[in-house]
C-alpha cells in the first residue's frame, strides 16, 4: 500500500507540474502587449514622449530626410568619402528601392512612428486612470503627429502613393497602396480629427513637451501647430481657400519673429539624439554652388541676407566625383541645434502662396505684402518690384521659399515638383554622368516583396 500511496503522490505531482503556469515576462524591455493590455497613465506619458522621439528619427542623419531631399532639390551635395552613393545614386541615379540607406530610405522611420501613434491611440482608449479631457489631449497630439508622419511619407513618394490603412496587427497582410490623393485626404482627416480632440481637451497635456514645442505645449496652442500643418497640406493640394482658413487658426504673425515655430529637439544628454547635420568642417555636406549664383542682391550689393546668414565660404573648395563647392551650411551651428518642423516664416510664405494661387487682384496684392515682409525681414532685400501677375509672383514666391526654408526639409524640391518646375534643377556634370531630376522615391524593396504583383513604384526611379 505504501507503493500505492507513493504512486498516487507521483500522479499528483505530475498533474500539479503539468498545470503550472510557465509564463515568463519580457525581463529586459517594456513589452508592447503590456502597454496595449495594461495601460497606465505613466505608460501613456512615456509612449507619448516616444512619439516625438519616433517622428524625429532619421531627420538629422547624414542620409536622412533633410540631407537627401537637399541633394535631390540641389540645395546640397554630400561628399562623404566613405560612400560615393550620395552622388552616384542620389544625383545620377537611378534611385534604388533596394538600397535602404538611399533610394529606399525615408520610409521605415515615419511608418514606425505611424505605428507608434496607432499604439498610443489604442492604449489611450483603454487606459483607466485618465480623464476624458486628458485622453482627448493625447488623441489630438497623436493624430497630429501621425498626420505629420504621413506627410513625410507622401512628399517623398508623391505619385507612387503609399499605404494608409496600417494597423498594429502584424499577422494581417500589408495595407494596400493608396493614391497620392487618398493619402492627402487621410492627412487632412487626421488633422481635422485632431483639431476636434484638442478642442475637447483640458488646458494641459498629461505629458511634457520638449523645448522645441515652446509656446505650443498646451492643447490650445498645440492646435495652432496643427492648423499650421493643415495649411501646408492645403497648399500642397491646391486648396488655397482652405489654406487661408487654416492659417487663421495657426500662429502666423508678421509682427513676431520669423523663427517662431515648432522644432525637432536635439541634445547631447545621454540617450538623446544629436543633430548630425552640424558639420563644422564640411566633412561631407556642402551647399550647392547655385545658392550663391542665384541669390538676389541687397541694395548695397551684398548677397541676400539669408544666403549670408546661412552659408559660409570654405577656405578651400571641396571636390568629389566631378562636383565642386566652396560653400558650407551654417544653419545648424551646434550638435544640439534644433531643426524646424514649421515656423512663422513658412506660414507667411504659405499665405502668400495661397493668395498667388487664388489669383485675384486682392489676393495678389496681399501676396506681395507678405512677400515683401519676408524679403525685408529675412533677406534684407528691397521691396518686390516685378510684375503683378500670377506667374511672376510664383517665381518670386519660389525664390523666397528656397532661401527662407533652405535645407530645412526639402522645401525646394517639393515646391518645384508641385509647380512642375523640376526641369529647372541644374543637371550637374558628375564624373559618373549628368545628374538627373527625380520626381519621387521608389518604394523600398522590402515593401514590394510581400506584394504580388509588385505595384507601380517598386524597383528603381530613373529620373529625367
Amino acid at each position: 500500500m505504501r507503493t500505492t500511496k507513493l504512486l498516487a503522490a507521483l500522479v499528483g505531482l505530475v498533474v500539479a507540474t503539468g498545470c503550472k503556469d510557465l509564463n515568463v515576462p519580457n525581463l529586459n524591455s517594456p513589452a508592447l502587449d503590456d502597454l496595449l493590455n495594461n495601460p497606465t497613465r505613466s505608460k501613456i506619458v512615456t509612449a507619448a514622449t516616444g512619439l516625438l522621439i519616433g517622428t524625429r528619427a532619421g531627420i538629422a542623419a547624414q542620409n536622412g530626410y533633410v540631407s537627401l531631399l537637399g541633394i535631390v532639390g540641389r540645395e546640397s551635395y554630400n561628399f562623404d568619402p566613405a560612400d560615393p552613393r550620395f552622388v552616384t545614386e542620389m544625383m545620377v541615379g537611378p534611385l534604388d528601392g533596394g538600397s535602404p540607406a538611399f533610394g529606399g530610405n525615408l520610409w521605415a522611420n515615419p511608418y514606425r512612428s505611424i505605428l507608434n501613434a496607432n499604439i498610443l491611440l489604442t492604449a489611450t482608449d483603454r487606459v483607466p486612470a485618465m480623464s476624458d479631457p486628458e485622453k482627448e489631449a493625447v488623441r489630438g497630439f497623436a493624430k497630429t503627429i501621425q498626420a505629420f508622419d504621413f506627410l513625410k511619407v507622401i512628399v517623398t513618394r508623391d505619385a507612387n502613393g503609399a499605404p494608409i490603412d496600417v494597423g498594429i496587427d502584424l499577422t494581417a497582410p500589408p495595407a494596400a497602396i493608396a493614391t497620392r490623393a487618398a493619402v492627402y485626404a487621410r492627412i487632412v482627416q487626421l488633422l481635422d480629427a485632431a483639431q476636434t480632440h484638442l478642442q475637447a481637451a483640458g488646458s494641459t497635456f498629461p505629458f511634457t513637451l520638449p523645448s522645441g514645442f515652446a509656446g505650443f505645449n498646451t492643447p490650445s496652442t498645440f492646435l495652432q501647430f496643427n492648423r499650421a500643418l493643415r495649411a501646408r497640406v492645403a497648399v500642397y493640394t491646391d486648396d488655397f481657400a482652405g489654406a487661408l482658413t487654416a492659417l487663421g487658426g495657426s500662429f502666423i504673425d508678421t509682427t513676431k519673429s520669423l523663427n517662431l515655430g515648432v522644432y525637432y529637439d536635439y541634445s547631447t544628454v545621454s540617450g538623446d539624439e544629436t543633430n548630425a547635420l552640424f558639420d563644422p568642417n564640411a566633412r561631407a555636406i556642402v551647399a550647392h554652388p547655385s545658392l550663391e549664383t542665384d541669390a538676389q542682391l541687397q541694395t548695397g550689393g551684398a548677397k541676400d541676407a539669408r544666403f549670408v546668414r546661412k552659408i559660409a565660404k570654405l577656405p578651400a573648395a571641396k571636390s568629389a566625383q566631378g562636383l565642386t563647392s566652396d560653400l558650407q551650411f551654417v544653419i545648424y551651428d551646434a550638435v544640439d541645434a534644433p531643426i524646424p518642423i514649421i515656423r512663422n516664416e513658412e506660414l507667411i510664405l504659405l499665405r502668400a502662396e495661397a493668395n498667388v494661387g487664388l489669383n485675384t487682384a486682392g489676393s495678389l496684392a496681399a501676396a506681395i505684402t507678405d512677400l515683401n515682409t519676408i524679403r525685408v525681414k529675412s533677406g534684407s532685400l528691397p521691396l518686390y518690384a516685378g510684375a503683378v501677375t500670377q506667374t511672376a509672383l510664383l517665381d518670386e514666391l519660389l525664390y523666397n521659399k528656397r532661401y527662407s526654408l533652405m535645407f530645412e526639409g526639402g522645401h525646394r524640391w517639393i515646391d518645384l515638383r508641385h509647380y512642375g518646375r523640376l526641369n529647372t534643377l541644374p543637371q550637374d556634370p558628375t564624373s559618373g554622368g549628368a545628374a538627373k531630376r527625380f520626381s519621387k522615391f521608389p518604394f523600398p524593396g522590402f515593401e514590394c516583396d510581400p506584394r504580388s504583383p509588385p505595384p507601380p513604384g517598386c524597383g528603381t526611379e530613373t529620373g529625367s
Partner: protein, 1002 residues
Amino acid sequence: MVTRILLITLALATLVGVVAVSAQQRQITGRVTSAATSEPIAGVNVSVTGTAYAAVTNAEGRYAIPAPAGAATLVFRRIAFKRREVQLPADQNTADATLEPDVFNLEAVVVTGQATGVERRNAAIATSVITGSEVTSVPAPAVDRALQGRVPGAYIQQNSGAPGGGTQVQIRGSNTVVGSADPLFVVDGVIVSDASISSGLFTVTESGNPQSTRNDGEKQDDPVNRLTDLNPNDIASIEILRGAAASSIYGSKGVNGVVIITTNRGKAGTPRANIVQRVGFSELQRGFDTRVFDTTSAIVQYATIYDDLGNPIGIDSASRALIMSYLVNGRLPTYDHLREVAGEKPINYETQLDVSGGSGQTRYFLSGNVKGDGGIIANTGAQRQTLRANIDQSFSDRFSVAFSSAFNRTTTQRGFTNNDNNGASITYGIAYIPGFVNIEPVNGVFPNPGITYKASNPLQTIALGKNDETALRFTGGLTATYQAVASAHHNLKVVGAGGIDFFNQKNKVVAPPELFFQANQTNPGVATLGNADSRFTNWNFNAIHTYTPTSGSFKTTTSAGVQWEDRQLSRGRVEAQGLLPGQQNINQGSVLTPFEETTHERTIGLYGQEEWLGLGERLLLSGGVRAERSSANGDVDKFYFFPKAAGSYRFPNALGEGSDFKLRAAYGETGNQPLFGQKFTTLQGGQVIGGHVGTVVGNVAGDASIRPERTREIEAGIDASLLRGRASVELTLFQRRTSDLLVPVTPAPSMGYGLQFLNGGKIKNEGIEVAAGLTLIQREHVNWIFRTTFTSIKNRVLELNLPGGAQGFRPANAGYGLSYGEFFVQVGQPITQIIGVDDVGNTISLGQANPKFRWAFSNQITYHRASLSFLWDWQNGGVAQNQTLSLYDCNGLAPDFSSPRGQAGYDACNNTGDARPFVESTSFLKLRNASLSLDLPDHVAAWFGARSARISVEGVNLITITDYIGYDPEVSNYGQQSITRNIDLGPYPPSRSFFFTIQAGF
C-alpha cells in the same frame, strides 16, 4: 490529455505492483573476478534471465541473488567488461564467473529514457560511449576537445588556440539558423550550462557595430564555453545521443544531440587513492611567416605615390625618410613579429588527486584538481581548480540515494585577439606591421611602430592590456531510487532526480590610456567590468515498471515521468571610457555605457515509453512520446509532442561463434526552442527627448505564435561484433528534415517593423556515420587496438518562405563583404554556403563551411609494460573565410608576396575585389595527440608506497598537414555558431603542447 494517459499508466502500474511475490524461490551466490588480473570485480550487475531479479557484486566480487526453482541462466554485466552468461542446473546454487575486458564498450548500457537504459547489443539507436580513460588519455583544455575524433556524427572544432578552451560541438549537421547550435549537456542527471559569455573585449577592439546592441561585437570576443569548468579526470563515461529517436526524450532541446556525462563514483572495498601529476610546456604550432623587404620593395610598398589609374608617379619623401629610419647597419632588418608576440613556451601543469572507497551502504568518490595552462602569448593563460564529492548511500535493499557535487573555479587571461577595428587585437595588428619595423621595447620603452594599424604596438598591448575572467561554479545533484516492487515477474522502481548548476562569471577588460592605440581616441583608456549569473535547475520523477512473464519469453519496460527545467542567465556590463592613467576601476572612467540582459526559460516535459524485449533477447521494440510546453514558445500552455519509435533485431553467432549482428531502425522527433524574447515585441526605452524618456516600438517584431523548430529523423544501421569481440562495426545512415525553421523575415516596413523571426523554413541533413574497432594483435605481451570513426553529412536548404519568394538571406555575422566571402543561406544550397564575387564582379558560390567528411584513426599499441597511442584526424573539404590571410595579402605582407599566389591575393584585395583567394579549403590531417606510457613494475611502485604507477609522455596538437595558409583551419571568429563558423580573423594562434605525467594508485 497526456496527464490522463500518464494517470492510467501509473494506475496500471500500481495494480500490478501489489501482486504478491512468488513463493517458489532459491538463493544463488558466487564471486566474479577479472579474467585478466584475477582480481575481484565490484559493481557487476547480476540478473536471472526471464525474471526481474537483480543484484550487484560487493567489493570482494561476491553476490547473492534470488532465483526461481529450476534451471536458470545468470547474466553478469559491468561497464568495461564483456557480458557473460552462466547456465545453472536446478540443483546448483553457486556460480562464479570471470569477465574479460571490453575494449570497444560493446557491453555498455545505453540510455533510452530519463531513467531507463538498454544493453548496447540490443540498442535500436546509434550510440557512442566514451570511457573516462579515453577522455583523459591525453590532457585537453576541456572535455569537448578530448572528444575530437572519437564520436561519429559529431564535428568538434576549436574556435581558437587560446588557453582555456572555446570549442563547438555540432552533432548531425547544421539544423538551425538562429536557434541554439549547442548540444545539451547533462552531468550526473543535472542539465548544465555550456554558455559562451562575452568577455566584453569588443569594447576595446570595437569589433561589431557599436550603434546597435553590440550583439555583433559580443560574439567576436572568443569566449570560453563553460563546459571547460568540468574536470575531465572525474569522468567515468560519456554517452552521446546523436539521433532524434535518442534525444527526443529531451524534447525541444534535443536537436543538437545530448551529451550525458557520468562522473566516477566510489566502489565498496578498501579505499583507493589515485594521483596524477603532469607538467609540460606549449609552443606556437603554425602561423604566418614574414615578408622580407629591402629598401626598394619597402619604398614601392610604402612610399610610392600612384595616380588614379595605379601608375606610379613619384615618391613621398616623408614616407621614404620613415623607411630609411628603420635601417640597421644600412639594411632593413627582418623581425619575426608573430614569434615576438606568440613565441612564449609556458609551463603547463596539472595535479589530480582522487580518493574513493566505501563500505556496506556508503560509498564515496572525492577528487581535487589543480590545472594551469600557459599561453604562447605572454600574460595569457588558464587555470582551473575543482573539488568533487560524489556519495552513494543505500538505506535498504530498496532505497538508495546518489549525491554528486562539484565546485570549480576557472580563471583565464585571454589577451586581445580576434577581429578588431581599433588597433587592439594583437594578431590583427601584426598583419599590418612590416618585418623591418622594430616593436621590441628600447630601454623599457615601447616604440610607436610608425607603420602599423591604428598606432598599435602589439607587444605594448600584451604588456599593458588585460582580459581576465574568473568563473565560480557549483553543480550538484541528487538521485533517489526506490525499488517499490521486486518479484520474479514484476519490478517497479521510482526514481527521482534533481540538480542545480550555478555559476558566476566575472570579466575585466582593461586597455589603459597609455596604449598607443588608445592615446588618439576621444576618451582614451577603457575598463569594462562584466558579470554573469547563471542558474539552471531541473528535476524529474520517473516510475519504471518491468514485467517478465513466467515463461521468460519477453520483458517489457514501461516508464513514465515528468521533468521540470528552469534556466536563467543574467548578464551585466559596464564599459568605462576615458580611464585615468594607472586605474582599472570603472569609476575612474568619464563615459560609462551600461548593459544588462536576463533570459529565463521554464519547461515542463511529460513522457511515457514502452520497451519490449523478446524472442530470446533478439527483438527490441520501443516507442514513446514526450509532451512538452515551455515559456519560450508563443503559447506557453500548448503541449508539443515529440514521439519516437525504434526496433532492432539481433542475429547471434550469425557471423561465427561469439559474433553478434544487429539490424536496427528508428524514427524520432525532436526540437529546438525559440530563443528567449523572440516572442515579444518590445518597446525600446533608454531614449530621451527634451530630458524626458520615451518608448517607441523596437525594430524586431515578436511572433506571438512562435513554436519550436521540429526535426523528424529516420535512422537505420547495423552493428556487428566479430571475432569474439575483437572487432566491432557500427554503421548508421540518417536523414533528418527540420521544419518550422526559424527564419529572419523582413516584413513590409509600412507595418512599422524591420525584422521578425518566423517559423517557416525547411532544411535537410543526411549522412553516414561509421565507428569501427579492431584488435589487430592480441598476444600475451603485445596488443594492438585500432579504432576509427567516419562521418559525412550532406545538408540542403529546402524552403525558406521569405516574402516575395526570395530565395536566400544573409544571416547575422555572415562576414565582411562579398569581396571577402560571406555566408548566404539559400534554397537548394547547403545551409553553410559561402558566396563571394569573382574577379569580374559576378557573385558565385565558393563552397560550404561543413566538410565533406571527417575521418579519425586511433591506435593503441601495448608491448609488455609500454603503451603507445596516437590519434589522427582527417577532415576533407569545407571552406573557411581566411580573413587573416586577407589582412596579410591586402597589406602586401604575405611571406609569398612575390609568388603568383601572393600577387593574386594582393591584387584581389586592392584591385579586383575577388573573394576567391580568401575562401580556402579547410582540409587537414592532424595528429591530435600521441602518448607513450610505461607501467612501472609493482615493486618499483611499492618504493613510493604505491599499488601501481605509470609514467608517460604526451603530446597534443602535434602535427597539422594542410594547404590552409596561416594559423588553423579549425577556427571561428564568432565563436559558437550554427552556420557562421569558419571565419578566421586574427585568432589566438594554435599551439602544441608536451606533457610528462606520473600516475600512481594507492
